[in-house]
Every structure is written in structure tokens, then in C-alpha cells.
């Protein structure tokens, strides 16, 4: 029995658009191999525009034009046999959504239907997947579940705008966790929240993950969040995973120059030491740099980096690192 719940192999995908007769290909995910385990909090970090949201869409099996998969696959391993999400039928995908894999989209706390009360949103989204329950049982289940998330049942009779941002985010977490799925995918769930509510929401997600002993895949650019919730982290740069490993190893001995920079520049209460920042901008994925995609901004780049693509290998720090200099 494998301890994996989901894996991607050689995943490559692009946005392909035809605008004014010009074909444009944006290579957003370029050779991503991930092996995500049961019962873990898995983090994905990287600057905005590096492809995090796109990768999550693919992991959740959402792939429609202009996004196109060019190579590789995503396999869900929580059923009797592996299910390849890009080969699955619509029906197979429908069956696993919510029950096996749920997806909290970026900004989803703001897309709750403004003219439907919260209980209606639960009925719209979750009830179709829980048809074995009567409406009354369903409501009872929702009320109990919200109670566990410290939301009173009055919330069900409210409209989204009557709730604070933190409460709305709790509602979307409630929706995503109602069916106790094996995988919960969350895209920047706390980025729009301020400090106090952010900590409460992360505490909630951590507790849910422990209670359900399932897998949460959390995307955020904010490494301070990963430091406190993720068991393992993948660092993404321009569509590729440049380093992956246990959170402690990534923070204590980052091996990739990009990770090193990210960790070193983190501000911390009580620390006034001058922090550097990375010069230059993230690359244009319609025309990514040759060789190592990080080379134009890498302070350590050598000739080889401009022409050859570094493959991930185990560094002495215990992290998988895609850099020629990592040892």
C-alpha cells in the first residue's frame, strides 16, 4: 500500500491563445513531478505569476482551453486503483469532486453567491454530492460541521455580505470539508485576511487536517505561512519546481539560490537587520529564459546555467534541488 495520495509525472501545460491571428503559448507548468502523501500538509510557494494556481487547477483535474496539457499526468491514488485525471470521464471526475478532492479557489470567499443565503450555497454545492442524506439530515450535518468550525448556525440564514471576511473564509472551508475529502486544495486562503483572522484560519485548517488525517495542499506566496503549517514545501519558479523538501530542511538549509534568497529576505518581528531583495522581475512565461529559468536573476549563475536545464537531485540538506551548484 503506497503512502501517496496524489502524484504528477512530467506535467507540462500551457495557455494557448490566438489573438489577432497571433499564436501565443505561455508555458506555465513545465515538467512538474510531485508525490503528495496521505496525511500531510503540503505547501507550494513562489512569486505571483509563477504558475501556482495553474498547477492547482491541473491537480484538481480542471483543464479547459486556453489551458492545455502537453505531457505528463496527474493521478489520484485514493481509490481502488489509480485514477488518471486527464483520462477520466466527466462522470468519474464528478464523483470524486467534493467527496475525494475539494478545491478552495483563490478569492473564493468573495465568490459566494451574494443573493443566496449561506444555507442555499451549501445545498447548491455540497448536497448533490451527498444524495444519500435526506434534506433534514443534510442540514443537521451542516450545522454540526459549522459548529466544529466555531460558526453558529445563524450563519446559515445570513447573506455573504453580512459576514466578516474571516467568517466567509470559514464558510468556504466548511463547504470544502463537509464531505471529509482525502484531499483539500486551498489557493491563497489567507492572503486577503489580516493578522488575527489569518492566524485563526490557519489554526483551523491545521486542526481539520489533523482530525481528518487527510491531505491539504496549500498554495501561498507567503513563506511565513508555510513555516507554520506545511509539513513539506515545494518552491516554484517560472513554472518549475526548483526545490522540495521538509519544511525544516527548506528553512534551515535551503539549497537552491532562489529559496535561499526567499528565506533570507523574510521580515520578522524583532529583526531589524537589512534584508536584500531579488533584482529583476519574474520571467515572461511566453518567452522563458533558456537553461535554468532562474539564471538571469541568479547571483551564482555560471556559463552552463544559460544553456542546460538543471534536473532535480537530492542535496546534502535532504531537499530535492534543481541547481547545478547544489551539493
Amino acid at each position: 500500500m503506497s503512502d501517496l495520495i496524489l502524484q504528477t509525472k512530467g506535467l507540462r501545460a500551457s495557455y494557448i491563445t490566438h489573438l489577432y491571428g497571433i499564436d501565443r503559448e505561455v508555458k506555465v507548468v513545465d515538467g512538474v513531478d510531485l508525490a503528495i502523501r496521505k496525511n500531510e500538509f503540503f505547501g507550494i510557494a513562489g512569486e505571483s505569476g509563477c504558475g501556482k494556481t495553474t498547477l492547482l487547477k491541473l491537480i484538481a483535474g480542471f483543464c479547459k482551453p486556453p489551458l492545455q496539457v502537453q505531457a505528463g499526468k496527474v493521478e489520484f491514488l485514493g481509490l481502488d486503483k489509480p485514477l488518471s485525471l486527464f483520462d477520466a470521464t466527466e462522470e468519474e471526475l464528478y464523483k470524486i469532486r467534493w467527496r475525494n478532492i475539494s478545491y478552495i479557489m483563490q478569492g473564493s470567499m468573495n465568490v459566494l453567491n451574494p443573493v443566496r443565503k449561506i444555507d442555499k450555497s451549501f445545498i447548491d454545492f455540497a448536497y448533490p454530492h451527498m444524495q444519500e442524506l435526506t434534506p433534514a439530515q443534510f442540514r443537521e450535518r451542516v450545522v454540526g460541521h459549522l459548529g466544529n468550525l466555531r460558526l453558529s448556525k445563524d450563519v446559515l440564514d445570513s447573506y455573504p455580505h453580512e459576514l466578516s471576511g474571516g467568517m466567509r473564509q470559514r464558510v468556504t472551508i466548511g463547504l470544502a470539508t463537509l464531505c471529509s475529502p482525502e484531499i483539500i486544495i486551498a489557493d491563497e486562503p489567507t492572503t486577503a485576511l489580516d493578522v488575527v483572522v489569518q492566524r485563526e484560519t490557519l489554526g483551523l485548517m491545521k486542526r481539520i487536517q489533523k482530525e481528518l488525517a487527510n491531505t491539504i495542499i496549500l498554495v501561498t506566496h507567503d513563506l511565513a505561512v508555510h513555516a507554520n503549517v506545511s509539513d513539506r514545501i515545494a518552491i516554484m519558479y517560472a513554472g518549475t519546481i526548483v526545490e522540495e523538501g521538509k519544511t525544516v530542511d527548506i528553512f534551515d538549509h535551503p539549497a537552491h539560490p532562489y529559496t535561499q534568497h526567499l528565506i533570507r529576505s523574510l521580515p520578522r518581528l524583532g529583526d531589524k537587520e537589512k534584508k536584500g531583495y531579488l533584482k529583476g522581475a519574474p520571467p515572461n512565461l511566453a518567452d522563458p529564459p533558456s537553461g535554468c529559468r532562474f539564471h538571469p536573476r541568479c547571483p551564482l549563475a555560471i556559463d552552463r546555467c544559460r544553456t542546460e536545464v538543471p534536473l532535480p537531485k537530492m542535496a546534502s540538506s535532504g531537499t530535492m534541488t534543481a541547481c547545478f551548484l547544489a551539493e
Binding site: G165, R170, K206, P267, R268, G270, A281
Partner: protein, 327 residues
Amino acid sequence: MSETNELLSVRNAKKSFRLGGLLSTKEIIAVNEVSFTLFKDKPDILSIIGESGSGKSTLSRLILRLLLPDSGNIELEGKDVHAMKGRKQELDYMRRVQPIFQNPFETFNPLNRVDEFLLATAKNYYPGEKPELTKERVEMALQAVGLSLSEVGGRYPHELSGGQLQRSSVARAIIPNPKILVADEPVSMVDASLRMSIVNLFQDLKNKLGTSIIYITHDLATAYYISDRIAIIHKGYFVEQGETAPILTNPKHPYTKLLVESTLDPRPGATSLADGDISTGDEEYLAVGCKFAARCPRAMDICRKVQPEETIDGTWKVRCHLYGGNI
């Protein structure tokens, strides 16, 4: 009294809004009895910190003359800013106090080239000047933010990276050589790495050009990193203000303590993630007595009846019944 050392003084500023439309009788005082001073002989970065919905933007709009206070006054070099009338006085004010917006896309019109917009801004402040001189002003402003006309020349906002655009928006603000920048959550929407480049830029502007900066944020880590002074705002009141480092390492007010505890330490597992009670929204504004009492672990009877006065405890100001010998 004509030669005052006070650059900006805010005295007992107060601004209220009616909740839920004109006919409603419920009123909140979004900014209440707020006082602080910036001095001419000592450029400062003053951070104003609080959760969303605590009155930060209202205060910044009062300073920027976009809102009229109900009472109290705001003086710039000894002159009431709200008494400045007419184009000349207005321009004179804008030469000295400039805003920086949260979203740089608000600064720039998507249909206009960035360099043309900057040149038009310079012309507006220095009418009738030779074109070469205007160009030089823009070039100097861009250089101060680490850019140049050759980099942004001929480009539209969407053709610049997020970092370049936010820098260009700072460049726009410093064209008239202002004495004060009012930056309302300038980094809330940007990545960690870009965030550091912007706050480093603020520090450079203060050190090299002597610009004072009012830095409004809910991010305590960057506030600690760059600011000399800090004011914690809760539901309209400054509840604690003074020098940044001692306050954030040893906060007195229970609300400041909550903010400090909630700030994520970017070291693995360093923050305890209590899955605590949900924080409240506008209701706190309506509370009688101390507005924080409902969430305060140390609340006493008097707190629910009497609004605490600001007192000096040790070297800084705090507004809480636990201090000042009231009990």
C-alpha cells in the same frame, strides 16, 4: 510661533459615518480623538497598524484632504489643511503631501504610457518649465526608485512587472519632492519579495531625501523592520503609540499583544496557531466603554462602561484602564 518645528500635526481628529444609509440612526466614529505629530527636523517613518475596518483609510483620507473631519484639526507646517482653498493652495499642499495607493493600477491609466503620465505630472507641478528640465525631474524620480526613463519609456502599465509598476507609482509621488508620503497599505497586495523591495525603498527615501512616511499596514513584521514610530489603531482610537521597537517587543495594550501574538514568525513551527474565536467586525465600533472589551482577556467591569483615556506609561502612550493608575 511662525517658525514651528511641526511638519504635520493631527489634533483630536474625529470623523463619523452613519451605518447603513442616511436614514439610519446608528453612527460609528471611524476616527476618534486621534493626535500625532511629525517633525521637520527629523524625518520619520510612522507606521499605523490595525486590522481592516479600524479607521486607517479614513485617517489617511483626512490627512490627504479627501474627507473633512467632524472636529479636531490637521495642520501642515502650522496651516490648517482643510482651510486651504483654491488651486494655488491646493497645489502647494500636494507638493508637500503625496499619497501612494495600495494598487498601483489605481495610479496609472491603463490607456496612457507610464512615462507620458509621469511627464504630465511633473509639468503640472512645475508649469512653464523647459521640457528638458521636466524630463530631468522625471528621470531623477525614477532613479530614486531604482528605475530609469529608458526602462519604462514607451510602455503601458500592463507592460511593466508588478514591482516596476509599484515603483513607478512611488516615482510619481516623489516628483514634487514632497515632505510626506502617505502610503495606505502599499504592500498588502504584493508578494513577500516585492514587499521587501518597496519597504527598503521607503527607508532609502527617508534616509536620502529626508521624506517622512506614514506607512499604513496590518503587517507588523515590515512595520518593525522600517518604522521609527508606531501607532496601533483600534476602532478609531490610537490605543498605543511611541517608538516601534520597544512597543512591538514589549506591548502594553492587550490589543497590541493580540496583534503581536498573531504575527507569523517565519521560522518552522514558531507561532502557536490557536484556533481561537472569530474576531468581530463593525460591532466593536458600537461598544460602550473600551471598544476592545469583548475580545480582551483582561477586561474588567469599568472597561464595559468607561472609555479609557490616553495616558503615558513609561516612555509611550497607551489607552487602557490597566495603565495610568485609574484602577
